[in-house]
């Protein structure tokens, strides 16, 4: 530029400025309230009206909800002002100045870095917290000792996906062959794995990895980068219009990576077995699953049956008791191994020797206040760590990726950012938004999600209602009666009078304090629907709940909103954002519903995913390139920060009640169904368009330019 005149700034009075900002905030906040209120209201109403359980910590949850809304507002604005324009601009400049191999290297680093920036491993660990080492050793290994390998495999998968995706943009290839090939490999590997005793348990983990790796920062960034790069292509680049498709690859390739990782390690772990033989002294392979012998012993004490615990100590009871006594004397160790004081008490009642019972007679007693305090020791919030945890995860998600991209822009491409002030403000918004949003999820959404999720099984099975428990004073063993069953087994019970009504209650030794003659009475509720446990009616209620929850949580997902806006923009409104979001939300709802069915009836994941993906291949073949790109990408964005914690709490709640090995697979189901719904909707839209625009078909007039004359 030879000459540059500074155009004068427009002066706005401070009053006007405040008005403008207020109006802007009002519009943006109300958008998010619209998006989030559905799921919030639904969860509260379901818990209060259907399950009939009061909401604990209501004020904290309310604060969390407000934080979710404010955080989302900032975060969405940050995506639209900062992250997406930055990605798009770099995408536009990259192919101009950089050689193909440089672009692909940058894409790989970006994919790898984004996985480490938004680690989904926490989510996966939570989903796998009920996995027992002896039931699924390989899965246990990847969730604990080798979780860093898992993250690395996923990172490499996402990196490769980005490379493949960018290469596709540069060549202008269709997405369909990619899908055909990847899905064939995936289904082949999963089929093989489903016949392998150890590998079959990581199928769910692998497919879930694909869904959760693409986080709320990565998706919009990759989408925008793709839009930029796809602006550069050979003629015939119609296939890559809009920059979609990378997200699809980023949710398929990591699945392959994780399955391959599983195959590499499957020889090193013992086959699934029962806990007694798992901890048997001659089973040396089991120690490989843990960092040290003492860690294995901790694990045995907290999870395994008593004979297995003895095995972990080579059958020496004295060693075991001494070890537990040492744990009991340190508050920190107690929390580490038993989590709550109550669990420790239960252990003592059930397994403790007389000596150790004497040593901890204080804990064995059941004081009313003591019980209440002991049950919720982890609930008191440490404000400092809470804030620093959320701030640092927001920093980690946004800063390294942005710095890397900006460094590429300034040092590799030697270009400047247009509207740098706007982008920086956007990045700051995204940062603030993510921290506040993450904190709000923790305080509000996951709390209510946990409450609903853990109480949900009451609709189809009897459950202990800990909120309604009371301490019976002067309880004596003589009050206990015995009931006999046809096969001769017996159940101990006692009569209990509650507000003038005489009830029968089962006797549970772990609730009895022999020294002070106290009994902790925990009433049992449910099943709320249907007469007998596991009746169809009760399960149906849970499935309907799952559908509505998945549907309304998806409406609030920020990455999906970003995708919807992009789709609407690129198709100039012919494909409305609301249409996309609605069909994706219906898909997620259906997927989560099927996932619940998988857990309740313990259906192997492969037999659910396999047919769905085969169906998808057919639908993909029939669909237009435009819908294939958008539909498959929507699968990657569905499982975001709002859906995932809710799905996890629900899955854990049901899984614990039903007693499944692992609760993975719901997220994978929530990824596949939206694709079907979006592609199905695309087919309908195309059919309709064709039907009423039939006249648009060119009549095959055999005109050439030679005979155009009259």
């Amino acid at each position: 530029m030879n000459k540059k005149k500074e155009s004068p700034r427009f002066r706005v009075s401070s009053n006007e400025a405040i008005n403008m900002i207020l109006r802007y905030i009002r519009i943006k906040v109300s958008e998010q309230i619209k998006a989030v209120s559905g799921i919030i209201v639904y969860l509260i109403l379901f818990q209060a009206l259907v399950l009939g359980i009061p909401i604990l910590d209501a004020s904290v949850i309310a604060l969390g909800m407000v934080m979710v809304i404010l955080g989302l507002t900032f975060f969405m604005e940050g995506l639209l002002l900062g992250i997406m324009p930055m990605g798009e601009e770099i995408g536009i400049r990259l192919p101009q100045k950089a050689k193909v191999h440089v672009i692909l290297t940058i894409a790989f680093i970006l994919g790898l870095a984004s996985t480490f920036a938004e680690p989904a491993i926490g989510v996966l660990k939570a989903a796998g917290s009920s996995v027992l080492a002896w039931e699924a050793p390989l899965l246990f290994l990847f969730l604990n000792k080798y979780s860093s390998y898992l993250v690395a495999a996923v990172g490499i998968g996402v990196g490769l996906a980005l490379v493949l995706g960018m290469f596709r943009f540069l060549k202008g290839w269709s997405l369909k062959p990619y899908i055909y090939i990847l899905i064939s490999i995936l289904l082949g590997l999963s089929l093989y794995a489903s016949f392998h005793p150890n590998l079959k348990h990581i199928i769910g983990l692998a497919w879930d990895c694909g869904g959760v790796t693409t986080g709320p920062v990565t998706v919009p960034l990759v989408l925008a980068l793709g839009i930029g790069i796809s602006h550069v292509a050979n003629r015939g680049g119609e296939n890559t219009e809009g920059g979609f498709g990378v997200v699809t690859l980023a949710s398929l390739v990591p699945v392959i990576a994780v399955l391959i990782l599983g195959m590499m390690f499957s020889a090193q772990v013992p086959a699934p077995m029962d806990d007694v033989s798992f901890f048997a002294p001659d089973n040396h392979e089991s120690v490989n699953l843990f960092d040290s012998v003492s860690e294995m012993q901790d694990y045995a004490i907290s999870k395994a049956s008593y004979p297995a615990q003895l095995n972990a100590f080579n059958g020496r009871e004295d060693d075991l008791m001494a070890y537990v006594a040492k744990i009991g004397s340190s508050e920190a160790r107690l929390r580490e191994v038993f989590t709550t004081l109550d669990n420790f008490r239960t252990w003592l009642v059930q397994n403790g020797s007389i000596g150790i019972k004497d040593q901890f007679s204080e804990i064995l007693t059941l004081e009313a206040e003591g019980v209440a305090a002991a049950n919720n020791p982890l609930d008191d919030l440490d404000v400092v760590t809470y804030i620093s945890r959320n701030v640092s995860s927001a920093l980690r998600a946004i800063v390294p990726l942005s710095l890397f991209l900006l460094a590429v822009l300034y040092f590799v491409l030697r270009e400047r950012l247009a509207k740098a002030d706007e982008v920086l403000l956007g990045l700051a918004f995204a940062l603030v938004g993510m921290a506040v949003f993450g904190g709000g999820i923790e305080l509000g959404l996951s709390k209510i999600g946990d409450q609903v999720g853990s109480n949900l099984p009451v609709s189809f099975a009897p459950m202990e209602n800990h909120a309604g428990r009371s301490i019976i004073k002067g309880f004596d063993k003589e009050l206990v009666n015995v009931a006999v069953q046809p096969d001769g087994s017996t159940t101990e019970f006692f009569y209990y009078e509650d507000h003038g009504k005489i009830k029968v209650a089962k006797f549970d030794a772990k609730n009895f304090d022999e020294i002070r003659k106290l009994y902790r009475y925990v009433p049992v509720r449910g099943p709320l629907f249907g007469r007998s446990p596991y009746s169809m009616a009760g399960i149906l209620v849970v499935m309907i709940f799952a559908f509505i929850m998945g549907y309304s949580a998806t409406l609030a997902e920020p990455a999906l909103n970003a995708l919807g806006l992009t789709v609407e923009d690129i198709t100039v409104g012919a494909f409305k954002k609301s249409l996309l979001i609605q069909s994706v939300a219906m898909g997620v709802g259906t997927g989560i519903m099927l996932g619940v069915a998988k857990i309740v009836w313990n259906i192997p994941l492969f037999w659910m995913l396999g047919p769905l993906y085969l169906l998808l291949l057919v639908v993909t073949y029939l669909s237009t390139e435009e819908f294939v790109n958008i539909g498959w990408d929507s699968a990657g964005v569905t499982t975001g920060p709002i859906t995932v914690p809710l799905v996890l709490s629900m899955g854990l709640g049901i899984g614990t009640q039903v007693g499944v090995v692992e609760g993975f697979g719901i997220l994978a189901m929530a990824s596949v169904c939206p694709i079907l719904f979006v592609l199905g909707m695309g087919l309908v839209v195309n059919l309709r368009r064709k039907a009423f625009l039939k006249e648009y078909e060119p009549e095959n007039l055999e005109l050439t330019h030679e005979d155009v004359a009259v």
Binding site: V12, M20, Y24, N234, R235, T571, V572
Partner: protein, 373 residues
């Protein structure tokens, strides 16, 4: 350099085939813009109760390229014949006279076609174009007007506004820049009522709502399929109307008992020119600023695809930006010079600047009381 710009608006599915035909004719460079068109869905069944006329949108592609006057009718005639644009619902084609002020050599300008003889078709000559720029999300309201009025089918495109907003500093983020442009070609005698409805429905007489302007069209064929309805007659109403249009050689016969008198006196702006600056993606904002320093009030920047058969470039950026500015005719020269001085017509931004006359325009104007002498 005066020449003719031909615009074709067609269903997106047909775009590739039209591009191939044009290449065969010798049109090696053209611009493509994605848009949407709408129809009224009259037989919407049950939903009729809720909404009187549903709007059904479908994607269209807007193609444009430059030819000289000699080739104009031949190209128009060929495309109109081949794609049967006479029948309602197929598409719109029209030509405009433009003046190319500056151009980077990459653009070949006027393109020769291979026609040996000229083809003449009965085109309508009494046409004008109206473009209305409003905030994103308001477009369908405006689209509905010409459909309900029975005039013709509009094509909506997306753009971003640049102007006063960019002078606000960071406060600009409080005003969304996204705009919708509703492009309509219609019979001249429908202009006033449609314009009046645009102003009324779009509230263009309020600040910050948008602008509508009218510009001349040389000749063309207009898509008049305004509603989707089942036909149980031999020919649909639209087909009959368009057959009479063809017989009468224009749309003037459809005398408007419907025509409504402009109830209000509107302060239209005159002596304006539409300046179009095509440049590389990402340069638009900067160049608009330069134009604004010489008196342009602002611009709407749209993304268009530049299609060229020249195969020498492996990785070519085929997305360009087009900055549309409505400026006082007196300032065109100064703006062109200012833009030239930035060097944008060289390799840096690969720009092209052309102008079109504007008959009249309407937008909110602040009362000029505060103006100091």
């Amino acid at each position: 350099m005066k020449c003719v710009k031909i615009n074709i608006i067609l269903n997106k599915n047909l775009a590739k085939s039209v591009v191939d035909d044009l290449y065969a004719l010798g049109i090696h460079q053209l611009f493509m813009e994605v848009g949407r068109s709408s129809l009224l869905n009259v037989n919407a069944g049950f939903t009729n109760i809720l909404k009187r006329h549903n709007l059904v949108s479908y994607p269209v592609e807007i193609l444009s390229f430059l030819v000289d006057e000699e080739n104009e009718t031949a190209v128009l005639g060929y495309i109109a014949k081949k794609y049967d644009l006479r029948s309602p619902g197929k598409g719109t084609i029209y030509s405009q006279e433009i003046d190319v002020l500056h151009s980077h050599p990459e653009y070949s300008g006027v393109q020769e076609t291979h026609f040996k003889r000229k083809y003449t078709e009965n085109f309508f000559h009494q046409l004008v174009g109206i473009t209305c720029v409003v905030q994103r999300g308001e477009g369908d309201k405006i689209s509905r007007i010409s459909l309900n009025y029975g005039a013709s089918v509009p094509a909506t495109t997306h753009g971003e506004g640049s102007g006063v907003r960019d002078k606000l500093g960071l406060l600009r983020i409080t005003i969304p820049p996204e705009k919708e442009l509703i492009n309509l070609v219609l019979s001249k005698h429908d202009t006033n009522p449609v314009m009046e409805l645009y102003i009324e429905v779009g509230k263009l007489d309020e600040p910050g709502r948008g602008i509508a302007y009218v510009y001349p069209i040389k000749q063309g064929i207009v898509n008049t399929k305004i509603s989707r309805s089942k036909t149980d007659q031999a020919a649909s109403l639209e087909q009959m109307v368009s057959a009479i249009d063809a017989l009468k050689g224009g749309m003037e016969w459809r005398k408007s008992s419907l025509e409504r008198e402009a109830t209000k006196h509107r302060d239209f702006l005159f002596d304006l020119t539409e300046l179009n600056l095509i440049c590389e993606e990402g340069k638009g904002t900067e160049l608009t600023e330069a134009a604004m320093s010489s008196g342009a009030p602002g611009a709407t920047i749209c993304k268009i695809r530049f299609n060229s058969l020249d195969e020498d470039l492996e990785l070519r950026r085929h997305i360009r930006e087009i900055c549309k500015m409505i400026v006082p005719t007196a300032k065109v020269q100064a703006i062109a010079e200012e833009l030239s001085a930035t060097g944008c017509f060289e390799d840096d931004a690969k720009a092209m600047l052309y102008s079109l006359p504007v008959d009249k325009a309407f937008t909110y104007r602040a009362k000029e009381i505060k103006k100091r002498s």
